[in-house]
Amino acid sequence: MAANPMTQFEVYRIGPEIKIGAFDISFTNASLFMVVSSLAILIIFNLGSKKNSLLPNKLQLLAELSYTFITKMISDTAGSKAKPYFAFIFSLFMFVLFCNMFGMIPYSFTVTSHIIVTFILAAFIFIGVTIIGFIKHGFGYLRLFVPSGVPAVLLPLIVVIEIISYLSRPVSLSVRLFANMMAGHTMMKVFGGFVISLGIVGGWLPLSFSVALTGLEILVAFLQAYVFAILTCIYLNDALNLHH
């Protein structure tokens, strides 16, 4: 067992090295787990929606439950105008959830524990939401940065503050997911290391901690996917229903 708790986050190449210009686009273990989770989503939801029986089997139940869960979440936070974006938010939630959950399997790799992955997801959401806002409202979207009822003296300062808080959205979105996943997995590895080093005499306490942490991590894995999706809905709500 590796003593260093950070070795689990190492990205290494699987198969041949592929280079386009200066970019290394070889297939890595990170790409492998992204492919695995996407395939798992595809298989589960294809099988789940194949037979539309009145008495659903377990897969169909799972697919239907997640469908209603996401629909409810979108209509609660972003209203009925956000319905066309259901497909995007559903795939986003499922991708993050499956990546987190596949990371919980021992010896697997957690894709979402790398900030570049979560930041790219968040940056796409940020850019997309901004474009949607400008399409729906034109330059009136800039009113988002000018809250009503502010004295004219304070306006320059408030606008700068609002712009900073708008720009901080992708950062907080990506850092939250990345930090939670990485901290949790590091902690689990550290406690696992304690079990080995303390041996059969003192290892029981960290072992029980590890069991509890595993449960906590599964909760966090679900919760972070949920938070990621719900914040996307909130940002979408800001872009669709402009009111300040």
């Binding site: 300062l157 700068v160 503050i161 609002e162 900073i164 808080s165 720009l167 901080s168 959205r169 950062v171 907080s172 850092v175 939250r176 930090a179 939670n180 919760l223 972070q224 949920y226 938070v227 719900i230 914040l231 909130i234």
Partner: protein, 91 residues
Amino acid sequence: MSKDQFKTRLQIAKDKLSKKNLRDNNQNSSSIGAAFKLSTELVSAVAVGTIIGFILDKTFGTKPWLIIIFFFVGVIAGIINVIKSAKNMQK
């Protein structure tokens, strides 16, 4: 049991169920999610403000000043972020 009696009992049971669902939904996932949300909101605004200050300093050559100003503006933005999302939670 008559039909009317059954109807009222069904109605009462349904009301109880919907109330319970509402309470569960409010308490479980969304409130823990909101707590996770608050923690990073503050930090990220400070980070973004400082980065903007750093970039502006480099372009204008006003070495320490803009980064200091934008750091504090970022702190204010972070606090406002937290207050905003806390207000959203109470709705």
